[in-house]
C-alpha cells in the first residue's frame, strides 16, 4: 500500500487554519485532557471487556453445579458490570467528542482514513449495549441457559470493540492506507489503514491486558476478604475464578509484549530507543533498568551487558538504532517512557510469579486446591494477590504511557505533530478544568457505589428483578 513517510510533509500548506494561534498552555491543556480522559476510560473499558467473561464463567458454573456461591457471584459481578458499563459508555462517548473538540486538525484531514475501525467499533458497541440490557434485566424473564447465552455476545463484542479501537490507535503509530499529494489526503484504502503493521501486536497486547486487569482486580477484592478471615466457599470461588484466568493469560502476555517490542525495533526504532533509553546507535547494546536520561545518555541505571541486542536479535552483535538517528526536536520524553516501560514489565513479571505460585501449589498434588488458601504461606500469597489488583492497573496505565508518550511529538507518526492537530480555539484550559472536576466527581461516585455493591445488602439488580430479595447476602 502506498505510504508516504516524507518527514518534510509536516510543513502543511496552510493547515486548514492558523496553527500559530495555538498557545503552549492550550496545547498542554488539550494533551492533559485527552490523556486524562483516556487513562480514566481505559481502566473501565478493560473491566468492561474482562468482567463479562468472569461473570459468565461464574454463572455457567452455578448452572452446572447448582452451587449457590457461584450464582451469587455471577449476580454480584453483573451488578458491578452494569455500573461499570454505564460509566464506560459515557466516558467513551466523551472521547469521540474530544477527538474533534481537541484534535480537529487530525480529524479534518485524517478522519476519513481512520473512520472504518470506528464504524466497526460502533456496531460492536451497539451489540454490546443491546445484549447487556437483555443480560442485566432479563434474569427473571429467560430460562437460565438462554440467559447465559445472551451474555456471550457481550464478551465477543467487547473483545471486538477493543480490537477496532486499538487498530485506530495503531494507525497513529503506523499510518498506512493513503497518499499525500500536495498536502491532500487521496487514494484512501480504509482496510489497509485499519490493518496496519502495528495492529496485530497492539491489539493482542491490549485485549490480553484487559483480561488481566479485570481478573487481577476482581481477585484482589476477594483476596482482601479472605485475608479478613472470610474463608468460605463464596469468597474462595470469588478469588479463584478471576485469579486463575489472570494467571493463565499472563504468560501469553509476556510473549506478546516481547513481540510488540521486537515490532518496534523493526517499524518504530525511535520509539524503542526512547523506551530503552538508547541514545547511540550500535551493537552490544546493554539493557538498562531504571536510570535517568541526562546529557544524551541514560545514567544511574542497572545495566545488563549486551541485554538489549540479545533481546532484539538474539545476538550481542545486533545493531540497535539509537535516538541519534532522530532529529532532536522529535525525541519523546526518554526518562518517562523508559520508566513506564520498566514498571509495566516489572509488574508483568510479578504477576507471572504469582501465577506460578498457584500452579506450583496445584502440582504438589497432595493438597487440594483450596488448601493453598489455608496453608502457612497463604497469608503472604493473599497479600501479594491483593497488591496484584492495583498493580495490574498501574501496569496498564504504564503501558499506555509507553505507547502514547513514546509516539510524541507525533499524533500521526512522522506525518503530523500534535501541535498541528490541536484546536486553535481559545480557552482549552477551561475545558480541562471542567473535565477534571466532573471526572473527579464521577471517580468518587463510582468507587463509592462499587464498594456499596461489594458489601451492601441485596439491592435489586433491576426494577424487574423480583426474586433478589430472597438472595442470601454473604
Amino acid at each position: 500500500m502506498a505510504v508516504t513517510h516524507d518527514l518534510a510533509a509536516t510543513a502543511w500548506p496552510a493547515v486548514l487554519s492558523a496553527v500559530d494561534k495555538v498557545s503552549e498552555g492550550d496545547l498542554a491543556a488539550a494533551r492533559a485532557q485527552m490523556g486524562f480522559s483516556l487513562a480514566w476510560h481505559i481502566v473501565v473499558a478493560c473491566l468492561g471487556v474482562g468482567l463479562p467473561a468472569l461473570t459468565l464463567i461464574a454463572e455457567w458454573y452455578g448452572i452446572r453445579t447448582g452451587n449457590p456461591a457461584h450464582r451469587l457471584l455471577a449476580r454480584r459481578w453483573a451488578r458491578a458490570m452494569g455500573v461499570l458499563f454505564a460509566v464506560g459508555a459515557v466516558s467513551g462517548t466523551i472521547l469521540s467528542f474530544e477527538m474533534g473538540l481537541l484534535w480537529p486538525g487530525l480529524m479534518g484531514r485524517f478522519g476519513q482514513v481512520i473512520g472504518l475501525p470506528f464504524a466497526l467499533e460502533g456496531i460492536a458497541f451497539f451489540i454490546e449495549a443491546i445484549f447487556l440490557g437483555i443480560y442485566l434485566y432479563a434474569w427473571d424473564r429467560l430460562p437460565p441457559r438462554r440467559h447465559l447465552l445472551t451474555g456471550l455476545p457481550i464478551v465477543v463484542a467487547g473483545v471486538a470493540s477493543a480490537f477496532f479501537v486499538v487498530c485506530a490507535n495503531a494507525w497513529m503509530n503506523q499510518p498506512r492506507g493513503f497518499v499525500l499529494r500536495e498536502g491532500k489526503v487521496v487514494d484512501v484504502d480504509p482496510w489497509a489503514a485499519m490493518l496496519n503493521p502495528a495492529s496485530p501486536p497492539q491489539t493482542v497486547h491490549m485485549i490480553l491486558a484487559a483480561f488481566m486487569v479485570a481478573s487481577f482486580t476482581t481477585a484482589a477484592v476477594y483476596a482482601v476478604a479472605l485475608l479478613r478471615g472470610r474463608r468460605d466457599a463464596y469468597h474462595k470461588a470469588g478469588f479463584y475464578i478471576p485469579f486463575t484466568l489472570g494467571a493463565a493469560v499472563t504468560p501469553f502476555q509476556l510473549v506478546v509484549g516481547d513481540w510488540a517490542a521486537r515490532f518496534l525495533a523493526e517499524f518504530q526504532p525511535a520509539k524503542l530507543a526512547a523506551i530503552e533509553g538508547v541514545f547511540t546507535t550500535g551493537s552490544h547494546v546493554p539493557l538498562t533498568l531504571g536510570g535517568v536520561a541526562r546529557d544524551d545518555a541514560l545514567r544511574y541505571g542497572l545495566e545488563i551487558p549486551n541485554g538489549l541486542s540479545l533481546l532484539v536479535g538474539y545476538s550481542p552483535s545486533t545493531v540497535v538504532q539509537g535516538l541519534d538517528k532522530v532529529p532532536r526536536g522529535q525525541w519523546p520524553a526518554v526518562t518517562g517512557v523508559h520508566w513506564a516501560f520498566d514498571i509495566m514489565v516489572g509488574i508483568g513479571l510479578f504477576l507471572l510469579a504469582l501465577g506460578a505460585w498457584l500452579l506450583l501449589s496445584w502440582w504438589r498434588g497432595r493438597r487440594s486446591r483450596d488448601e493453598l488458601l489455608d496453608q502457612r504461606g497463604s497469608r503472604l500469597f493473599l497479600v501479594l494477590a491483593a497488591i496484584g489488583g492495583p498493580a495490574s492497573v498501574v501496569a496498564l496505565e504504564s503501558g499506555w504511557c509507553v505507547t502514547e508518550l513514546g509516539r510524541q511529538p507525533w499524533i500521526v507518526w512522522g506525518i503530523m505533530s500534535v501541535r498541528d492537530a490541536v484546536n486553535p480555539a481559545p480557552g482549552l484550559m477551561t475545558g480541562l478544568w471542567l473535565v477534571l472536576i466532573v471526572y473527579a466527581g464521577m471517580t468518587v461516585a463510582t468507587v463509592y457505589v462499587l464498594r456499596r455493591l461489594a458489601k451492601g445488602t441485596a439491592v435489586p439488580l433491576a426494577p424487574q428483578e423480583q426474586d433478589v430479595e430472597s438472595y442470601p447476602v454473604v
Binding site: F85, V87, T93, I94, G100, L101, F131, G133, Y137, V459
Partner: protein, 342 residues
C-alpha cells in the same frame, strides 16, 4: 451518490437518536418534575423501569452519528467540533452526568444518595438536549464556517436560532417521553400514571407546537436561508410534522396511547428531515456542500457496506431487546419491590 447515501444513513441515525435517545432525555426531564421523593416515587419508578434496559443502546445512536460524520465528512466534523467547542463540551459533560448518575441511582439504596444522583440525572437530562439543539441551530443558521475554529466561539451558539433549537429539543424530547410513558404505564399496571403522563404529553406537545410557531418568526429574522428552505422545498415535511403532531394529541386525548407513539415520533422526525431538506446540498451553509466535504469513495463504500452488514446483526438484536422488555412480565405490577423510599 455515495456521499448522499452516507448523508442519508447519518440522518437516519440522527433521527433514531432523537426518537429513542431523545425520549430517554425527556424521561429525565419528567423525573425532574415528578415532585418530592414520596409523591414522585411511582413516576420515577416507571421512568427507571422504562428506560433502564434500553438507554445505553439508544445512546449508541449518538456515537453512530459522530463516527459517521467524521468518517464520511471529515472537514465538516472538524469545523463543527472546533467552532462549537463550548456547547459540545457542555453537552458531553451532560452526557457523562446523565448516564453515570442514572446507573449510580439504580445501585443506591439510601434516600440521600438517590436524591443526589437523581438530581444529577434529571438536570443533565435537561441540559444535554438543550446544548445539542443549540449546536443544531448553529449549524442550521450558517454560523459554522469551514476551517478550524473559524467561527465565533461564543456567538455561533449564543444566538436566536440556537436558543430556538435548544428549547425545541428539550420540549420535543419531553413530549416524546411523555407519549411513550403513557403506553408503558398502561401496560405495566401503573394505570393511574397513564392519564398523568397523557396530560403532560398534551401540554408538552402544545408547548412544542407554540415554540415551533414562534420559531418561524425567529428564523425569518435570524436565518433567512433556512427559513427560505423550510417554506419552500421542505414545506411538505413541515406540514407533515404539524399534522402528525396534532394527530398525536387527538389520539392521546382519546387514550389511544400505543397509536400516539408513531404520530409523535413522525412529528419529530419530520422536523429533522425538514431541516436536512431545507439545507441540502449545503453541509455548512454558505461554505461546504455534501460533495465537497465527502470522503474518498473507498471510505464511503467501506463504511456503508460495513454498516449494511452490521444492520443484519443489529436489527434482530434490537428487536430482541425491545421485544423482551415491551412484554408484560408475569410479576410486574405486584409492587413487591423494595421501595426506593425506604
Amino acid at each position: 451518490m455515495l456521499a448522499d447515501t452516507a448523508l442519508a444513513v447519518m440522518w437516519v441515525g440522527l433521527t433514531c437518536y432523537a426518537l429513542f435517545g431523545g425520549a430517554d432525555f425527556g424521561a429525565g426531564v419528567w423525573d425532574l418534575l415528578a415532585g418530592g421523593s414520596r409523591r414522585g416515587l411511582p413516576q420515577r419508578r416507571l421512568i427507571e423501569h422504562s428506560i433502564g434496559p434500553i438507554w445505553e443502546a439508544n445512546h449508541v445512536w449518538l456515537i453512530f452519528v459522530i463516527v459517521l460524520l467524521w468518517s464520511a465528512f471529515s472537514p465538516v466534523f472538524a469545523a463543527v467540533l472546533s467552532t462549537l467547542y463550548l456547547p459540545l463540551t457542555l453537552a458531553a459533560l451532560g452526557i457523562i452526568a446523565r448516564g453515570a448518575a442514572f446507573a449510580f441511582r439504580k445501585a443506591s439504596t439510601e434516600l440521600w444518595q438517590q436524591r443526589l444522583f437523581g438530581a444529577f440525572f434529571a438536570l443533565s437530562s435537561l441540559v444535554t438536549p438543550f446544548f445539542l439543539g443549540a449546536v443544531a441551530g448553529a449549524v442550521a443558521s450558517g454560523r459554522v464556517p469551514p476551517g478550524l475554529a473559524a467561527g465565533n466561539v461564543i456567538t455561533s451558539w449564543l444566538n436566536p436560532t440556537s436558543a430556538l433549537g435548544g428549547v425545541l429539543a428539550v420540549t420535543a424530547c419531553a413530549h416524546l417521553a411523555a407519549v411513550y410513558l403513557c403506553a408503558d404505564a398502561a401496560r405495566d399496571g401503573e394505570r393511574e400514571l397513564a392519564p398523568v403522563f397523557a396530560r403532560r404529553a398534551v401540554i408538552s406537545g402544545l408547548v412544542s407546537g407554540a415554540v415551533a410557531g414562534a420559531g418561524v418568526a425567529v428564523l425569518h429574522a435570524d436565518a433567512p436561508e433556512l427559513f427560505h428552505g423550510l417554506t419552500h422545498r421542505a414545506l411538505p415535511l413541515v406540514v407533515l410534522s404539524a399534522v402528525a403532531g396534532l394527530l398525536g394529541l387527538v389520539l392521546l386525548h382519546r387514550n389511544r396511547f400505543v397509536l400516539a407513539r408513531p404520530a409523535a415520533a413522525l412529528a419529530v422526525a419530520a422536523i429533522l428531515w425538514a431541516w436536512g431538506a431545507a439545507q441540502y446540498p449545503a453541509m455548512l451553509v454558505g461554505g461546504t456542500t455534501v460533495e465537497q466535504a465527502a470522503s474518498d469513495g473507498a471510505v464511503l463504500a467501506a463504511c456503508l457496506v460495513v454498516l449494511a452488514v452490521g444492520a443484519l446483526l443489529l436489527v434482530p438484536s434490537l428487536w430482541l431487546l425491545y421485544a423482551t422488555f415491551q412484554r408484560r412480565t408475569p410479576a410486574a405490577g405486584t409492587g413487591s419491590r423494595p421501595s426506593a423510599d425506604s
